[in-house]
Amino acid sequence: MSKTKTKTRKTEDLSQAMLKQIGESTAREMLNMMILIRAFEEKADELYILGLTHGTMHLSIGQEASAVGASYAVRRGEDYLLNHHRGHGHALSWGSEINLMMAEFLGKENGYCRGRGGSMHIADIERNNLGANGIVAGGIPIAPGVGVSIQLRKTDQLCLCLFGDGAANEGAFHESLNLASIWDLPVIYFCENNQYGMSMSVDRAFNIERISDRACAYNIPGETVDGNDPLAVYDAVFRAAERARAGKGPTLIEALTYRWKGHSKSDPQSYRTRDEVKEWQRKDPIPRFAAVLEGAGMLDEDMLKAMRDEAEQKVDQALAFAEASPEPDIATIMEGVYA
């Protein structure tokens, strides 16, 4: 484990330093995005309950700081994103349009995937979001390919590869990290450790303290950060991005966070206690980040309220847009299988 560094800087020091680096307006924008993600997913949850969406969905409520911290630390929309099934927040944070996401939820023709993909598969190819994946760890082995392509095309992009704690136990994880390491590929492996893979707690699924400890097996940096602090996430991902763009290879980052809602829409949550959920809800990343900004004189009550109102408005408008959008034409059912 010797090669694995764990953050030692104090949270307050880090926050101050990071706020300075990021700047006031971006910091506020990040909070704004976290609020938007929360509002979007709360609406998505509602739609599901009303039977307006089909299938299942995976909500990231409680994990917004990870999504926002990670994407704001790279060039959102220019770098590449490999998303995973719990990916609404990442897609929004990457710059995807809320209207088109909502339309996809409702299976509409003008949704991001023409209604063919749904919540689990939102891709925004124009913004280099290569898609959310329904297969756990499905995106991980794609990352070295994206990395090689960046190397060969000699751009200064990188690939942000997102996955959960559970995904780190698929064999593909090992193959991918090793390949990226030996070829010094510009990949950031970002593991959102929300403490569970469905019902399987990380305590039961791993025999190591930190998932980032695995980095030493590939001789790459590994770091575990507070995933409920967008600034801590930003800091780690930013440094990994500098390393990637400098041709020094991949980094494994583990963001510690928590999923508030059930795994998907059919989860009685018998594997965890209410107290545990409540304890994490007290660490809600949104009020926490808001307090940091207020402390730094970058935010006041009115601004916060305006952000909340605006988020709700946007979500309502997106829903109206989605509802008014056309259904796919059955005659097009065979389209799109081949190029």
């Binding site: 297969i135 136990n169 064999g171 796919p328 059912i333 065979m334």
Partner: protein, 331 residues
């Protein structure tokens, strides 16, 4: 217990597992979220409480290791039953299944055996889109050494599962998400439905439908409608896809002179082609009065949108139209 006791497909599977585990210490379960979570579709509910963590083992998300562990345990005296949460994920187990489990007996000169069962639900209709809705049975049918079983009702589910567990070969046991809640008569005692025996589900004289899994139900519904028009359909459920009892199918086609094969999996490279070939190359060929037809899933990934998803696989009305045309000689 009344003789007409009914159980759902899920309950029947669970009862089968429980009865075998009570009797036979060598049987144990492994898979993702099969413990406190009860399995994604509830098949293993209550079994953790009853048999404990040693015999009902939650695994990390590692499908290659689940299949490999089934093989390793089965080579060394156990009879494991693994669960793959959605059949789609069997893609991650394929190396252990197709290159290892299917080969060990033959390759080592018949001196070893791999008695395990890997259960997995196939099928669309739940809005789970392209990566959680496939019917991939033919991937596995194509590998000699694996048996492939696909029960269409609760009675068969229990009996075939018990028979599969006691079979000395690796058995791929394909369930269907939309069948889990369906009910049928299920005897309370432990019983086996022998593998490789096709079943005549309904007798008729005008046309033979060979259907698998959920499509057996849709074909039955269609047959009832067509019966009102005076068209009598015979329905055969192969139940075990490999090794297949094709005699029952051929006998039926000799009788009806017409065959329609129905499955949810995509048509190209699908199981229907195999059945058609078996019919066409048998004595039934001389009796055929119409081309052998297939009605299958479209050659596309399963779409998310409800309407598109509905149209991607055969529905009762499609079967009615197709069977009517074929039996009237309109093709």
């Amino acid at each position: 217990m009344p003789e007409n006791r009914e159980l759902t497909y899920v309950e029947a599977l669970r009862e089968g597992l429980r009865q075998v585990m009570e009797k036979d210490e060598s049987v144990f379960l492994l898979g993702e979220d099969i413990g406190v979570y009860n399995g994604a579709f509830g098949v293993t509910a209550g079994l953790l409480e009853e048999f404990g963590e040693e015999r009902v083992r939650d695994t990390p998300i590692s499908e290659a290791a689940i299949a490999g562990a089934c093989l390793g345990a089965s080579l060394t005296g156990m009879r494991p039953v693994g669960e793959i949460m959605f059949m789609d994920f069997v893609a991650l187990s394929l190396e252990q299944l197709a290159l290892q489990a299917a080969k060990v007996r033959f390759m080592f000169g018949g001196k070893t055996k791999a008695p395990f069962v890997l259960r997995m639900p196939a099928g669309s209709g739940t809005g789970a889109a392209a990566q959680h809705s496939q019917s991939l049975e033919n991937w596995l049918v194509h590998v000699p050494g694996l048996k492939v079983v696909m029960p269409s009702n609760a009675y068969d589910a229990k009996g075939l599962l018990i028979a599969s567990i006691y079979d000395d070969n690796p058995v791929i046991f394909v369930e269907h998400k939309l069948l889990y809640g369906t009910k049928s008569h299920v005897p309370e005692e432990s019983y086996e439905v022998p593998l490789s025996q096709s079943r005549v589900v309904r007798e008729g004289s005008d046309l033979t439908i060979i259907a698998t899994s959920l499509m057996v139900h849709r074909s039955l519904e269609a047959a009832v409608q067509l019966s009102e028009e005076g068209i009598e359909i015979e329905i055969i459920d192969p139940r075990t896809l490999n090794p297949l009892d094709d005699e029952t199918i051929i006998k039926s086609v000799v009788k009806t002179s017409k065959a329609l094969i129905i499955h949810e999996a995509v048509g190209t490279g699908g199981y229907g082609g195999e059945i058609a070939a078996r019919i066409a190359s048998s004595e039934a060929f001389d009796y055929l009065e119409a081309p052998i037809r297939r009605l299958t899933g479209l050659d596309i990934p399963i779409p998310y949108n409800r309407t598109l998803e509905y149209h991607a696989v055969p529905q009762v009305e499609n079967i009615v139209v197709e069977a009517r045309k074929l039996s009237r000689g309109e093709y």
